[in-house]
Symmetry: C2
Subunit: 206 residues, 2 copies
């Protein structure tokens, strides 16, 4: 019973555009996007401007470190610029958030390399779309002794790990990967079959 | 094992600020905010700029209609400016999204009034924080015959409806509310007790 023009009449065009922009973000459906848009309209202007400026600010201030490819405000990034303990070991991860996760563990003291994605032929993501060439370049110097491939234990993560392993093994670098097994604090009874199988395969001596 | 300064080193300051800005949005937790921020960094600059501009654009183009208080690009809003069928009936809703929901039903042909919230003494939301005064002003002209209070069937919605009903009944305006009952397509067996009770109370003749 309502015509499109009447429907339009109930929602300003700039609001429609904002809803569309929000719904392009990952994990934001059409309903959440609508709710976010009306939230932004309702809150004080300063808060809305702060959000827009924070978004614009990352464009202007953030770049990729020419060494590790992580997101940074300075190039090289603070981590690559400072002489940290172990420069002979590089941990390869999919994305910047993985660096944060590994740092949180406090168990790694080397350098990082961020791929910015995983190989996925189905989605058209080939080696040249990732920062793999940059990783190989870093190994040419000969200072790196070990590369830990810390991609996710998913199909894409495994494929990417195997591809990189094949590429850098000939360079005489030790290539390792994160251990598979039971997550800390979990219950064997509820673990999935693949996890249990990997925990058995990777069993260690006391 | 990681010091705060090292943690900072793994994440640029502008990224931290963006994560904070995203996590102030409703329904966005710290992890989603982190994911959104790194998404914004990864996508092409034009897309990031489009999002920021869409946010800034609503500040510049959107205002509240001086008649119905809905969000609009022109004042009065298109709906209030055009002579629609029935100007003698006003549907009072909590927020702009409720107008969209009622328009979608195609079952209402009158005017709207948006309160921009519900009374909530616990949250410090009093009548003067809502657009209730503006509603009473609209009724002074004497052209309005009926006010449908379409607030949500929640505690705050009920309290707000009762408050408005008490305020405008003396003005000689008919005050109605949306029917309570079984939602269309639902199953009596699975309906909650309050819904069934309201459906019985509000039973109608064939």
């Amino acid at each position: 019973m309502t015509s499109p023009s009447e429907q339009r009449g109930t929602q300003a065009e700039s609001v429609t555009r904002l809803i569309e922009a929000f719904s392009r973000l990952p994990g934001i459906g059409p309903r959440s996007a609508q709710r976010l848009a009306y939230h932004v309209i309702r809150v004080p202007q300063e808060e809305t401007r702060a959000l827009a400026n924070a978004i614009l600010s990352v464009i202007d201030t953030v770049q990729f470190c020419s060494v590790c490819q992580n997101v940074t405000q300075t190039d090289p990034c603070p981590r690559c610029a400072l002489p940290v303990e172990d420069q002979s070991i590089i941990c390869v991860v999919e994305e910047p958030l993985d660096v944060v996760a590994i740092e949180r563990s406090g168990a790694f003291r080397g350098r990082y390399h961020v791929l910015h994605g995983l190989l996925s032929p189905m989605d058209g993501i080939a080696p040249e779309n990732l920062r793999i060439r940059e990783l190989v370049e870093r190994l040419r110097g000969g200072a790196v002794r070990e590369v830990i491939i810390a991609t996710n234990p998913s199909t894409e993560g495994e494929v990417t790990a195997m591809y990189i392993q094949g590429l850098i093994s000939p360079l005489g670098v030790r290539v390792t990967r994160l251990a598979r097994g039971l997550p800390s604090g979990s219950d064997l009874e509820f673990a999935d079959a693949v996890t249990v199988a990997r925990a058995l395969e990777g069993r260690t001596e006391f």
